[in-house]
Symmetry: D3
């Protein structure tokens, strides 16, 4: 079945969808209605449920699965779903929430294998031990959390997928620039955003925890590294180097790093992070655009719009 | 005996002084000389030692005490000391380095008493316990370190003196604004710069440690609070609140706080810190200026120059 | 009777309210209606008056008092008032506009007494005379105007209340820092925003006057001080000092002060002004928030949201 | 006789010069000397007076005229004057300070005539009367002061010359854009920098007065206009308009105008001021440069360097 | 017949209008309607067409002419047109699109004559030849295009009108400042925005071309000058000077000029461009405002609002 | 023979060196001397030549080779060369300037081979043809010029070496991110700084040409691509894409790109350029630093200083 975002105006719809958001409204004549945003793996679409009473409001809350029938129509240049029928899914329907969530394109097990391999390649035993300890401690969340709540890699397992992409880049850069210390760079990449598992509330529909709000994932992770070193009775420069890699990876004070990178590997970590995040943002909007046209504006890329060259037609896709 | 910075051109000099800085130079005709900066508690003064050989260079290094004779003369609007005689002090002279260092105007014991009193006034047992633990742990350095390497309170015991000044302000503000939580504010003030005892190398001629450079006193202290809580087996919101107070006390990301204040008490801590630091900077330059004139420019106060009103003559001094 | 903002959905309403704002609308089917914002001392609430003709529009204008009956309902997470009955108040009802306006928590007479006391404490006769003259000249407006049209102290007598709060802080600071000149600081505080009585149109629903728009309260007050000195035939440094205190109290050119503070007292005036304004803003949103939750975002505080610690429950409230 | 800045290395010198600046120095071997900067109408040149005793220091102070003999030599790419003889000028020499100062290229009387003509053309009697009153009050200084202490029009009568240049531009602009109010624009130009006669200490070697430092020429002039209106018993919008023209003429808060231009004529005044000042700055450096080369960098023009095209050779000069 | 924007609430309307914009809407009860923006030479006005079917949507698209009847009414402080009748214009009506478009107040032929005269006055044959060649090449579009898609001179022939206004200013400035090279300045003005004929899609309802988006009018024109020089076999400094005039005319890198002005004439070109654009923006809003009131805010003028003095009543209009 | 920058104080020197810079000075007693900066492939060192007459000044100019004898001494923490003997090199000495210049570590022929291979891999014939044409046109300079006059790759053949480094990175990124168009990215990298061959004066001691100053290498290259397309009679989107790649490669208007990247490949080109330039800057200062210490500050890296971890000792070097 085609994803909901690939349908065209006039197409009929009859399928299960996840309610991502549900908001109550009142028409100017006083009639209540619900604005529902449905989601499947391809993205989301809006619909109105007219004459919705208090009971409907309870039945159709966010995170619940429904069976809908209706058709796609175009309203102000955007597709909407005009509902004919809607009912909550029951256990008998045999559908689960995971079927509707976007997920990294590589299975968790495979990502864990690759990660293990990168850790295995480290030569410095202190760095290796600290990294392995922290990965083990947070393994479950690390493999399930998104890399961010919006902008880039905001999907299930997005964090691990982002980290592995960065490790692949790091591998080729350390080959091209032998002066780079592979252990520091690999460990820095693996740990740089691990604090997100404490900053965010969960793998799905993540919001900020109190710790996340008041300290942020960078400070949380710097603390974690310090405590891990204490527990493992590790001493020496490596602990401080890794704390600095995490602390400085946003690159500048105004972007959230109280110290700028002062290690060659910390500077390069910042570039790799940036490059992979931006590629992810650009790919998303360019994939949704026809050759010869401009994408929608992307707020996190200085509100720029990107052009998809016509030559892509023959060569890239 | 009058401080060295209060002498006028023509005044004779014969006394002990501490060498703050010693730099070798060569005249354009190739003759070596030393530029010496002497210091006593009132401040410092420059002198030249002509025809200084390698031996002189070794004898007259920074941190050594000397006996000098000569006179004050004015060179390009600034006082200098023209040397007639100089010799290193010997143990027989019975002078010690402490006699030449600027020190907080309140003795350490008295400051410790006042601090204890403020901690005693706290009602929240968790905050009180954590604060007491950390003060005890760093007590010696906390009472001896400067508050900064330059700009404000850059003298022996400057850190404790700055903290107590801030506590006095906090006391009157909590009386005027009863909505402020006294425990949070007092503890935040006491801990806010305590990381400096790890960031700086010592109480005198302080430079930055490796930890200080790569993590900074804010991150160091946030970690310390976390570890102290672990050791004391303390849990609950208070730990996070205190970590946030320290983390946010520079007020803005670009000033080194990765999170801005999100507690009323954190916001007020930032103001009190600023106010006391600026008072200290202004007092120094205004004290050196005659009524009816402008002070030198102060770099840390946006390079401003301050006017000392003539009316100060009768009223303030 | 409970303030309108403290009622919950379902509560019946039958009371007098002030119309703060009245805006005409038309439904998409062409029927006219009025959106009314009602106010009492606790704040404001919105209501719709359906099928409102031209006559209703005239009857229910801003600044008029009405008697309403209806009930509270919740619309998109915000309380609204569903009107059943509404009529204009008549003289026979015996209600006056003052009953519906937020006002400083201290009576005008008491504030005037405190102000007089502060002026009485001044030792410099010139500063005292100038300050007394200007307070006398603008006494009525000074005691009634708000301190601003929005953001902080935006209520009846807000200006005087803000000034007195600042004077109380100044009193404790001059005790802690004896180098501060009390006369300059007190007079600077009293005069700093007095130009608002010319900048704003009145004590209630204040807007900007033409002078306010084109010159601003700072320039207006600097001129006033100059003219007052001329009238009183006062000469000497004090006039210039006070003009500078007012001129520089926003702290920086980009914040509206063409000269930055160049007097120690001017710098401190700027901090005190800031501190009291920010306390007022934070108190308002924190008072409306439950312990353990974040406040709404405050635009004038860099759009920050503040956390209200759970420990407040037992200790502060 | 050729101006001192037009001589070449090797040229003999025997003439009167004004000492612009005199600074005492000491060679590294302890011998005192004087660094003298001489000036005539074409600019200035440096010289050293070796073995200069205390008496020489007194004889050769700034603002005194001397007779010198020597020759030009080149030192690090800049011309210097190598002194053979020097003596103070005596009354018998019959030279006066005015002969050595750069002055506007139009005589004061002629500038006053032109100014009178522009005032005469005004149709609004209030604006005309206020302008005439203020010009009369400050006439002497207005015709003698420089427009600034550095950057542009920093010569005797520079203020009046700058104002007249601006009035000429205003005349052609009001012809091209009839919507501009000629009276407001002319009066705004005449008054915009008149506060400089209070801000600066005098027509020659001007420094800032205390009023100038603490209030600035903009605030000083806004006050003056207000007081003039009071004295002349003038009321009405025109006073406020002129105050705003002066207040806003720097264009932005960060450039010293607490209010931005809110009158069409105030906006245009800002542009004309800018244009004439920048022309003056560029002309100076380009005049000193050969066609086909770049000028020195100009700090007040964002540190830019300007190219003088080769085509200028035949066409412009 | 009076322009549509000069009518008052209650005035009847019966005339031809151009549809500038047409947007489909749906009422909350599901009924479709059209929001139409009509335009004539005086500006535009909004109207609602209720119960509009798919056929109406096709009939009443942007750029089509209609005959309407109805009346003006005021909705939320803005005039709207309440439609009674509407029908598409037919060829028999004899109306053409040009009658509804705002156009420069000077005919194209006259502007071309003036332009030819300015080119004729140039003395440098290279500059003259290059300028004439490029004007000839783009003559048709140059005389028809707007100067911008919004903000200033956004009307038919706005580009040529803006250029001629600038040339008139340049003529008086070169008379006042003889050091300015008239040929460079005139040619720079004529060419500075000529790249807009490639950047924009057409004279009416202009949007950006692909070249316009990816390179911009400045780079496009710099290239054009280079190619024209090649075709005409012109060599020498003049080509580079003109390319620099165009390249630098936005004044700063952040405003789109990769190099700041480094020629006196380039600096002045930037000021003249700015001055004429701002006059055009201010005149528009001030013309729509009554004396004694403030204009609406103008986004492109730092969101300022301008005051129209009362004295304008007698003198200017 | 060891490079001049690796010698220690006390080491004797007797070798050929290139004079990089020669500046005349005069001692305070009037004796002329020369400050010479000598260079070999390892870097440079300063020396003084006392009592240097006009003849010496001519003999020892920049770009001439000399034979020197003397020894290294330390002056204010920096090594200097104390000269005992100096004479100009003669043809008989058989030394050439190339022996003293830093050069890319890969021979030009090899770099050309690699470049040819990258061009060969392109699939789009238009991009390939344009790139090949431009490389051929500028081949000699492209292989010899530095990438910049300072900051990074400022050595002979630095431009080609930087481009090849970037191509290697691009090769691995296009493997990791298949959505990237290899042809556009390779061609963009090859052309992005080719304009430097017109912007700079030569391969050694490069300064800016007039074209370089007034237009800059970006605009120069955009023009070149346009003209090459004309000569080759190439049309189509590719020309515009490549012009945009070059135009936007500085990333932001304030960094010299009038348009920001609007192609995915243009964005990535900007990152790769940045990454390789920064690696080069960091490697240089870190190579000169001992493990466990901080490097000197690097102005082009926000004036940061980098830490060289102690663990480098065993692992990296």
């Amino acid at each position: 079945m085609k994803g909901i975002t690939f349908l065209k105006a006039g197409d009929p719809v009859e399928q299960y969808l996840l309610i991502k958001q549900s908001t109550k409204g009142v028409t100017t004549t006083g009639k209540p209605f619900l604005t529902l945003i449905f989601q499947d793996r391809s993205g989301d679409i809006e619909a109105k449920l007219w004459d919705a009473g208090d009971e409907d409001e309870k039945k159709y809350q966010a995170q619940s699965i429904v069976k809908v029938a209706g058709e796609i129509h175009n309203y102000r240049g955007k597709n909407q779903l005009r509902l004919r029928q809607i009912r909550p899914a029951t256990p008998a329907d045999g559908v689960s929430i995971g079927e509707f969530l976007e997920t990294a394109p590589v299975p968790k097990e495979e990502m864990m294998d690759q990660l293990t391999q990168y850790i295995f390649e480290m030569k410095n035993p202190t760095i290796q031990r600290l990294t392995r300890h922290l990965v083990k401690k947070h393994q479950k969340e690390f493999l399930e959390f998104p890399a961010a709540t919006k902008n880039h890699h905001e999907f299930v397992s997005g964090l691990a997928f982002h980290v592995l992409s960065m490790l692949h880049i790091a591998k080729s850069l350390t080959a091209l620039y032998p002066s780079l210390n592979k252990d520091l760079l690999y460990a820095g990449i693996i740990l740089h955003d691990m604090g997100k598992v404490e900053e965010l509330s969960g793998a799905v529909s993540a919001s900020y925890t109190l710790e996340g709000n008041l300290l942020g994932h960078i400070s949380l992770m710097v603390n974690e590294i310090g405590q891990a070193a204490k527990e493992l009775e590790i001493e020496g420069e490596e602990v401080l180097m890794l704390q600095h890699m995490v602390l400085s990876h946003h690159g500048k004070a105004e972007w959230g790093s109280p110290k700028p990178p002062m290690l060659r590997e910390a500077e390069i970590l910042h570039y790799i992070d940036n490059l992979d995040a931006k590629m992810n943002m650009m790919d998303r909007v360019i994939n949704r655009t026809k050759p010869g046209e401009f994408t929608e504006r992307v707020f996190a890329l200085e509100n720029r719009s990107f052009y998809k060259p016509q030559m892509y037609e023959e060569e890239n896709e």
